[in-house]
């Protein structure tokens, strides 16, 4: 069960799943300790939380992690999800700061950890590695900027529609056209930045209007065009 990830050479870091490690030379790869098996994390586990020290990259091999910040009144704001191939904790590692988010397992996960010193060396030695990381950071930055504009300017209804579209892109659909991610109403609300009750009401509105179908936590997209229109996005 540890072998869900494809070892590369005799390494346990899954190169295919973490594009950044593609750029490492064999020498550099060899510096990653052999014993660094990806670790199993059960649903609900908190991998790290706001304010904790983390010094290294968490590389998700499998599973889904939700990354959120806790607001003043304790309400969580979901910033993003991490899944196979994504890295967590690089902001704190690069800045040598404490975590400013909490990472919690949504779907059972395998995650490997690469120590910060090692990563910082790679960054300094290997330009392509550095560039790739920079690209990841910049991509997130662009997404964050979009998010800011949306939350500041769009209605809850628009944002919820947008979140659904976004989830489809990120997690795609299963054979029955249901989103491949299971979120509570509260978690949806914490993405949209609204109250749970508002999400519930709007979801049933979307259902009424024939845009989606709902089976428990599973959401099926019936009329994507309409959702896109509601969300006011141009794609």
């Amino acid at each position: 069960m540890m072998k869900n990830n494809i070892p590369s050479g005799n390494k346990t870091i899954d190169i295919d799943s973490s594009s950044i490690f593609r750029h490492l030379t064999p020498d550099e790869l060899a510096q990653i300790p052999i014993d660094q098996e990806p670790e199993f994390y059960k649903r609900g586990t908190i991998i790290y939380s706001e304010g904790s020290r983390i010094n290294g990259f968490y590389c998700v091999q499998k599973g889904i992690i939700k990354i959120y910040k806790t607001g003043f009144d304790g309400k969580e704001q979901i910033i993003r999800f991490a899944k196979r191939g994504d890295i967590m904790g690089f902001r704190s590692t690069v800045l040598k700061e404490r975590a400013c988010t909490t990472a919690q397992v949504l779907e059972d996960a395998y995650i490997s950890f690469v120590h910060g010193d090692l990563v910082l060396n790679f960054i300094k030695q290997n330009g392509n590695f550095a560039l790739e990381l920079l690209q990841i950071a910049c991509k997130e930055l662009g997404e964050a900027n979009d998010y800011i504009t949306d939350i500041a300017q769009k209605t809850v209804r628009e944002r919820l529609a947008e979140v659904i579209i976004h989830l489809k892109k990120e997690f795609s659909l299963d054979k029955d056209d249901y989103l491949q991610i299971s979120l509570t109403r509260e978690e949806l609300a914490n993405m949209v930045g609204t109250a749970t009750e508002s999400v519930i009401r709007l979801l049933s509105e979307f259902k009424q209007d024939g845009y989606i179908e709902i089976r428990g936590r599973r959401i099926k997209i019936i009329n994507e065009k309409a959702l896109i229109k509601v969300a006011n996005i141009n794609e």
Copy 2:
């Protein structure tokens, strides 16, 4: 008038003002074309706008630039400001994408431009340069995440108080304790993510309560503690 910036050696890129260039070797510095004088941009000028191609770093030597995104209905959302020492356009350069924000001069500025190919080479060759850039990106990312949480969870009143505190930190006060940046009510609203009228009403509330004084666009902070309390921040 071109000489407001301090040349380093016979270079016109002001090393002191742009920390990232500290890390360049003399050889690398020499690759930056001599004729690359910082250019003057008058208040109101748009340096680049959403969707335009930019391939390179704009390094602000002097002045203040507002960087914003335009929302669906044309309303602008101010993402950040750039001032002496800040870099603009690195997201687009690194990702080789078009700009996703607009940059407009708020206070007359001198800005030098370093071509993207050059920068990308520096990133690949010079680990410290790459790391510094990565740190800048990560810092912005952390700020963006805070911003998201605030906009999603706080009231307009809280956010406005927070913006004022934030402006004080970023631009500090002049001799009379006034913020060293001049923004229209609309621009304040576009930072907070609210309507102009709401900003006006809240500002006069803050004035009533003795937290601030207002002289035209100039804002003086009288009771910072109270503002911090209103903003619900812990510092």
